[in-house]
């Protein structure tokens, strides 16, 4: 084998390793984006799912319509809309001595990814709520619980358990979709990998493999983590009711 080729390959891996810290900062941003977006998605999507199942005609229609629009729009379009049209402001948060400034692009990304995820999460929760047998609600009502109490103490705890597999999927999707924020210039994992292989064009494969490995580790950890939560909360004897 031509010794220069070997040297070249080694050089490209060395290049990746030299720049690993640069990529890992991007990975941290990817994780933060995912967590915050998922959280926003949950806080908005869960009540939205409840409204879709138990809400009145008007509220259900409104929530469904917003959901259809968000699910029917490409994520890049949503992000561009948030950033350029809605022009999100930057935000400075102070907690004790620490102040963090969140860039306008970060805010736009969280809103875009989070609200779109809310639209998908609402469907996960809607399905889970509907899958809980009607008799459960009726039994709770029959001991004098109000509809709200019955939903809260009887239906929701069962529905949340059933939504874990769908939620698991959603985390994986959002995690990978954070890569789309390069469209508005946020330097997350994929944006940084692009910067790198533009600098050293022979290292495209090495950079992409390395970044893929990071994505794989991240999705693997979240999936295993949610598996553990799922089995921790699993109802002994199953959910026959």
């Amino acid at each position: 084998m031509d010794p220069t080729v070997v040297a070249q390959a080694t050089g490209d891996w060395a290049f990746v390793l030299d720049n690993a810290p640069y990529l890992l900062v991007g990975a941290v941003l990817t994780v933060v984006l995912t967590v915050v977006s998922m959280l926003l998605g949950f806080l908005v999507g869960f009540p939205a799912g409840i409204v879709e199942v138990y809400g009145g005609r008007v509220s259900t229609f409104l929530v469904e319509t917003v959901g259809i629009v968000l699910r029917g729009t490409p994520i890049v379009v949503i992000l561009i809309f948030m950033y350029f049209v809605f022009s999100t402001p930057s935000l400075t948060l102070g907690l004790f001595d620490v102040t963090v400034t969140l860039s306008d692009a970060f805010i736009a990304s969280v809103l875009g990814l989070g609200l779109r995820s809310a639209a998908y999460q609402s469907q996960i929760f809607r399905g889970a709520l509907q899958s809980v047998d009607e008799g459960q609600l009726e039994a709770a009502r029959s001991v004098g619980m109000s509809k709200l109490e019955a939903i809260r103490h009887v239906v929701v705890p069962q529905a949340l358990r059933r939504s874990i597999p769908g939620f698991q999927n959603e985390v994986t999707i959002v995690l990978k979709d954070t890569s789309v924020v390069f469209a508005i210039g946020l330097a997350e994992l994929l944006t940084r990998s692009y910067d790198l292989f533009v600098r050293q064009t022979t290292a495209v494969l090495e950079v992409v493999l390395f970044v893929s490995a990071i994505y794989f580790v991240l999705t693997f950890i979240t999936n295993r983590g949610l598996d553990l939560i799922g089995s921790y909360y699993e109802i002994p004897g199953g959910e026959q009711a």
């Binding site: 047998d133 008799g135 459960q136 009726e138 039994a139 709770a140 009502r141 029959s142 001991v143 004098g144 619980m145 109000s146 109490e149 103490h153 009887v154 705890p157 069962q158 358990r161 109802i235 002994p236 004897g237 199953g238 959910e239 026959q240 009711a241």
Partner: protein
């Protein structure tokens, strides 16, 4: 109702109910005294379960009145949650809360509705578990219990609210034959303790032994009512006779 009049525990007064255009109950009237066990029998679709569900307003009536302890419980001004504290219900499919243990199933109502603290509710749950003979299963989940055990928890759950009246909607119909006995035994025991019970069932031996009165419903109407001996041994209506003969043969 005036004060000097005798107040029944339950009085059903000319109740009618329909689903869409389908008339389910037509002008039903009957009454129960404290300690009565009234058994509703009749072919499927005769309105028995609907009648039962109207008493705790899981189903709403179209016309007529229902009184519990002299108080009208029908009408838009009645707080259904208050009513349901007084009227326990046992379901055909048990409907135990699947994510809670037997003990927690019984505790939920007393805690959330009656406002008992955890300790009091737990004590009450333990008493009722003992009453239905399930102390060892206190921490089992519904999925870990047999159908008969689940239904006994269902009875304990309703009893823990200390209701004035218990409704049983075909409590043994979903059970394997060998598990029916244990549930009927608990119900018999309850009747002996003086609980007022309105029961929809096809268990004719239970009806004959325990009922103070039987109502035979067909097509949403009471065809015949009276003590079980009358309905079984000298029914006045042919429909009563042929229905009871058929159902008794089927179950023996």
């Amino acid at each position: 109702m005036s004060d000097n009049e005798h107040t029944y525990l339950l009085e059903v007064d000319r109740v009618s109910q329909s689903y869409g255009t389908e008339k389910v109950l037509r002008d039903i009237s009957f009454e129960m005294d404290r300690g009565d066990v009234t058994v509703l029998v009749g072919p499927s679709g005769s309105g028995k379960s609907t009648m039962l569900r109207c008493v705790n307003r899981l189903t709403e009536i179209d016309s007529g009145n229902i009184y519990l302890d002299g108080e009208r419980i029908t009408g838009p001004d009645v707080d259904v949650n208050e009513l349901r504290k007084e009227v326990g219900m046992v379901f055909q499919d048990f409907n135990l809360f699947a994510h809670l243990t037997a003990r927690q199933n019984i505790m939920l109502g007393p805690r959330r509705v009656l406002g008992l603290d955890k300790e009091e509710a737990g004590k009450r749950a333990d008493e009722h578990l003992e009453m239905v003979g399930l102390t060892p299963q206190a921490d089992s989940y519904p999925g870990e219990l047999s159908g008969g055990q689940q239904q006994r928890v269902g009875i304990a759950r309703a009893l823990a609210m200390e209701p004035k009246l218990m409704l049983f909607d075909e409590p043994t119909s979903a059970l394997d034959p060998e598990l029916i006995g244990e549930v009927l035994e608990v119900m018999r025991d309850l009747a002996d303790r003086g609980m007022t019970m309105l029961v929809v069932t096809h268990e004719m031996s239970f009806a004959r032994e325990v009922a103070s009165e039987m109502l035979f419903l067909d097509g949403g109407k009471i065809v015949e009512r009276g003590p079980p001996e009358q309905l079984f041994d000298r029914p006045e209506e042919d429909r009563t006779a042929s229905f009871l003969r058929r159902i008794t043969e089927m179950h023996s």
